[in-house]
């Protein structure tokens, strides 16, 4: 008696629909070899799970429309709920192992040994067609726009999806704006040549010459978090006056930073200004 080969398309459909029912907005499967081909050395899926045969990419948990429309940027500073997708990824991985008997590893969203990610989530989303990179940086889904992602590596041999036919960025309205002004909404609001993080051109519908100052972006995205904490400590430890040290440590900036770190599950991203103005997925953020 021989084992009957499962219908892998059906298995894929069941795994992905389970994730969609549990809150994912997007669920796709990617080919690990396709990711390995564009990954930096040491960041291939096989480096994390030697048995990997499929990559499951789940996107979702976008901020609510009301949060996008709040006049207080501090609201958006405290709704970076990437951990909800990480929890969903863990649940999917557990189901694959418990019910199907295949290895499944939910890629950690924390930093690796060298302050780098364990895996290039943008590249994983791109090769699976879960979205495409943007001029601003975050992966954009053509319908949903900005999403958080989680990536599961598994030994399940699922049929892979293809990348998107065309990138979600630049949107047609951004191409029009660029043709008129030489700027897009994101490069207008956070221009690298004007104290911001982003720059680039659009040529034949493609973003080229994209420039991104990740260190300045860090000061905004992790404004009241680990890098801000380190920057304050740097100043405190070199301050000779004990009373001034006290003012720095007990002051409002350091206090809010400590609260943010404590509530780290809702403080994963603290700047959304390039995404607030992005037209991709804007209809999802427009309510009554």
């Amino acid at each position: 008696m021989t084992d009957v080969e499962p219908d892998w398309q059906m298995v894929k459909s069941e795994v992905l629909s389970g994730a969609l029912k549990r809150g994912a907005a997007v669920a796709r499967v990617g080919d690990p070899d396709a990711l390995a081909a564009i990954a930096a050395p040491g960041q291939a899926p096989v480096d994390l799970l030697p048995q990997v045969r499929s990559i499951i990419v789940l996107g979702g948990s976008a901020p609510r429309a009301g949060e996008w429309h709040s006049p207080r940027p501090e609201v958006m500073e405290t709704v970076g709920t990437a951990d909800r997708m990480a929890a969903l990824g863990s649940a999917v991985a557990r189901r694959i192992e418990d019910e199907l008997g295949y290895y499944a590893l939910n890629v950690p969203t924390a930093t690796d040994q060298d302050d780098k990610p364990f895996l290039d989530f943008t590249a994983a989303a791109v090769i699976s067609g879960a979205g495409s990179p943007s001029l601003a940086g975050p992966v954009l889904h053509p319908e949903h726009g900005f999403l958080y992602f989680t990536v599961i590596l598994t030994s399940l041999p699922l049929p892979a999806d293809e990348p998107l036919d065309a990138p979600a960025c630049p949107a047609p309205s951004c191409v029009e704006m660029y043709d008129e002004r030489g700027l897009t909404p994101c490069t207008d609001v956070c221009n690298i040549d004007d104290g911001g993080c982003l720059g680039g051109q659009i040529q034949e519908g493609l973003v080229i010459g994209r420039r991104y100052d990740s260190n300045r972006c860090r000061s905004r995205v992790y404004h009241y978090w680990i890098p801000g904490y380190q920057a304050v400590l740097d100043r405190v430890l070199s301050e000779p006056d004990a009373e001034r040290r006290k003012m720095m440590l007990y002051g409002s900036y350091f206090t809010r930073t400590m609260w943010s770190i404590t509530y780290s599950n809702v403080s994963q991203g603290q700047c959304f200004e390039c995404m607030r103005v992005c037209p991709v997925g804007a209809e999802q953020r427009a309510l009554r």
């Binding site: 040491g42 207080r72 060298d114 905004r220 740097d234």
Partner: protein, 124 residues
Amino acid sequence: MTGSGQPSPSQPARGELTGFHVVDPELYRQHRAQIVRMSNSHQVDINEFLPDGVRKRAMTDAEIAERLGLDVRDVTEIRVVAEHDEYPIEEYEASARFKDAASASYREGGVKNLYGGRPAPTKR
């Protein structure tokens, strides 16, 4: 580091990479700007949908170490310290003004940069 993630004979073992390695400040000063330029800190044309020949992947720490003839642990430390050292606390403080201006700009119906880099951003 090899493509499989295993250290090559000339590179330290994984446990050493994860350890508390303090880079020599003089070595940091000497190579800081060069390493930041070669790493992912200031990205140009890294997007995955760009055609071959246009897309430029940043160099890994191991690749930078090989190019400069340095220990990979020193390269990693110089890069991580430099990434945090580029902007002092004043830039974080300016960040709050940027967000206020950007969200106000959006609320007023325009997509224009009311911040305009003022006050001028600081940089070490």
